[in-house]
Amino acid sequence: MSTSSLFVTLAVLIAVAYVLGRGRSMALADHSQRGFRNLNSLPFYYGMLTALWCGIPSLLLVALWLMLDGNAIDQLLIAQLPGEVAALSHAELGLVLNNIKNLALGNMVGANPEPYMVEAASTLTALQRSSQMAMTVAAISVAMVLSIIAWLRINPQQKARLQVETAFKVILLACASLAILTTIGIVFSVIFESLQFFKTVPVSDFLFGLQWSPQMAIRADQVGSSGAFGVIPLFVGTLLISLIAMIVAVPAGLMSAIYLSEYASSRVRSMVKPALEVLAGIPTVVYGFFAALTVAPFVRDSGVWAFEFLGLPMQISSESALAAGLVMGIMIIPFVSSLSDDVITAVPQSMRDGSLGLGATKSETIKQVVIPAALPGIVGGILLAVSRAIGETMIVVMAAGLAANLTANPLDTVTTVTVQIVTLLVGDQEFDSPKTLSAFALGLVLFVVTLALNYVALHVVRKYREQYE
């Protein structure tokens, strides 16, 4: 039976187990009274308990089997191969195994495969078939046996509800840990690769170097630069673009939040708010080409015009930090506005009443009472938006260029940390050259920075929450 039809079979079994478990508990109910008073739990829970016993262990078994059988079969296969082939190095052995697998799938491998390969291929097919068979039998019998035991154990005193609740708690916990474990995995892989990188490039050179040009001679005889891995220009570029973005997004977002929460009628609000949120749903690559094709040329043209007007001899590139920052700012507006809108709305009406009752106007109330009261939350929202800006890549790739200039001129082309990570890793790369590894170091630094920002932001937001609840 194929794996997918095995899953279907198990699903059917689970459903049957549910129905039978529920049915048995109902049959056990004392029908001289109304309802199910003599049962410890509602029939639903007995059904669920039987279904869980049927489903969880068998699914775990299948998962484990699928994870392990590839390796086990490989080992069995290698044991079968002729001695001189089995003695090959690890990499060559992998190649041979690959060929055998292709052969088993019916693909052509060279002109005429060696006889031992043909033999191995048929062994492989047989092994795979019996593994599949064994898995099917094992899973279905585990499911049936356990659900029958669970079914037999159903009795009115059984605390089915508690057991089901506990089971669900464990399942939820497992899902939550999946996300956490993934994060931890990512962090460790980044840290590990970064340590590799710092073996070749000192940490101080990396953190305080003023030059970024990661091109390195890959072979000894190649002409090329030796590479410079100073991260400062990238961070300056990132900060410059994020700063421009925030200069656009903070006032626009905050003011639209104030308008929406304080002035707009409910009709206007119900139209404008979703429209603003659409901005957040636009894929960043779309913003990217908007920046590259519309905003960047506009910035360049108006810059050229302005400098001509002033009679200054200035070069303006068609890619600029300003264009990328402006568009990124627009992208972030909905973040700032919807988070600020939430915290402004959360300021209790009694606070506004107090101020209005003293004869303050609406704008005085907003400026002097509402905004100060909401400020921690607004700051939290802005910090989250900043970390979003720092992590943004697409717009910068398209509109700000790739040159790692150390400059504060917004009309110059700059690059950011994320963009460099992308350019370092795309294309054919050697995965142990400092050039590639530096991407991990950049990732680590970026991760630390955004983590710190998020931590501060969450902390601020939480403190704010406590204030009003």
């Binding site: 009628s265 409910s266 209790p348 009694s350 606070m351 506004r352 009443d353 107090g354 101020s355 209005l356 009752g357 003293l358 004869g359 303050a360 106007t361 005085e364 002097q368 009472v369 100060p372 009261a373 204030q467």
Partner: protein
């Protein structure tokens, strides 16, 4: 001839209906007692109707509030006391669906005049709310808030003085004089309420509206605020909504009883609590409902 008869019969029918039934069934009704003053009315309201959307919350209320008087408003929950109180300084403007009709005057000036600016009106008719709502600022800034926005002082020394006298009048000065720059939200509930009263006094209003100012307070804090109301009535006109009949009896000169959006009876406080004119009032104060 038949028409006249019909009118006469209707009049008779109305007259024989009990006042309770009349108040509950028809929109036009008589408020018993003395809702109006012959002279010295600080605020006077006539034919006030208030609607929330289509729902009418106040029916044809007429009432005067005298200079330096403490008027208590009592009545079962939901009868419209807060709604009526909030009309007096147009706080109802903040509720979109709320509509007020009728004449409401402050010293003869129509407060619902479309040309009237609510800012000076609210400076003249201040409000203290049910739940203490100090701003998340320092104690000093809370009290200084009103004088600052109205430009009542020009120098820091003057502001200090206003803050001090307001806190003294609200009998809070002794408790907070050493921590004027601590946040107002850090005070106890009773202190916060007195802070809110000080904040209102600092604008030197002529009328102070209080909506259940003691409902969140313990008996000691309540006693302090009641004492305060008695002192304040020397300088201010006060309208207070309360659910405590003892409180109404202790602090007020006249008491108005509201029922289902109608003003049933207004009389001297003593009379309302000893010998009310209306049976609904009597039922309420003797605790038969409400």
């Amino acid at each position: 001839m038949t028409e006249l008869n019909a009118v006469a019969q209707a009049t008779i029918a109305q007259a024989v209906e009990t006042p309770a039934a009349a108040a509950a069934s028809s929109a036009s009704y008589e408020t018993v007692g003395q809702p109006f003053l012959d002279s010295g009315a600080k605020m006077s309201m006539r034919d006030v109707d208030v609607f929330y959307g289509d729902k009418q919350a106040i029916f044809n209320v007429g009432l005067d509030i005298g200079q330096n008087e403490v008027l208590a408003m009592i009545g079962p929950s939901g009868c419209g006391k807060s709604t009526f109180l909030r009309c007096l300084n147009r706080m109802n403007d903040t509720i979109d669906i709320c509509r007020v009709t009728g004449q409401l005057q402050l010293e003869g000036q129509n407060i619902y005049d479309p040309k009237l600016d609510v800012v000076p009106l609210r400076a003249r008719v201040g409000m203290v709310f049910q739940k203490p709502n100090p701003f998340p600022k320092s104690i000093y800034d809370n009290v200084a808030y009103g004088p600052r926005i109205h430009g009542l002082v020009s120098r820091r020394a003057e502001l200090d003085e206003v803050v001090e006298t307001s806190l003294r009048k609200a009998s809070l000065w002794e408790e907070v004089k050493d921590r004027l720059h601590a946040p107002g939200t850090g005070l106890s509930g009773g202190q916060q309420q007195r802070l809110c009263i000080a904040r209102t006094i600092a604008v030197s209003p002529e009328v102070i509206l209080m909506d259940e100012p003691c409902s969140a307070l313990d008996p000691i804090a309540t006693a302090k605020i009641e004492e305060l109301i008695a002192e304040l009535s020397e300088n201010f006109t006060i309208a207070i909504v309360t659910h405590s009949m003892q409180q109404a009896a202790r602090v007020s000169h006249r008491t108005a009883y509201f029922h289902l959006g109608k003003l049933i009876e207004v009389n001297d406080t003593e009379k309302v609590f000893t010998n009310p004119d209306h049976e609904l009032t009597e039922a309420y104060i003797t605790g038969r409902f409400g």
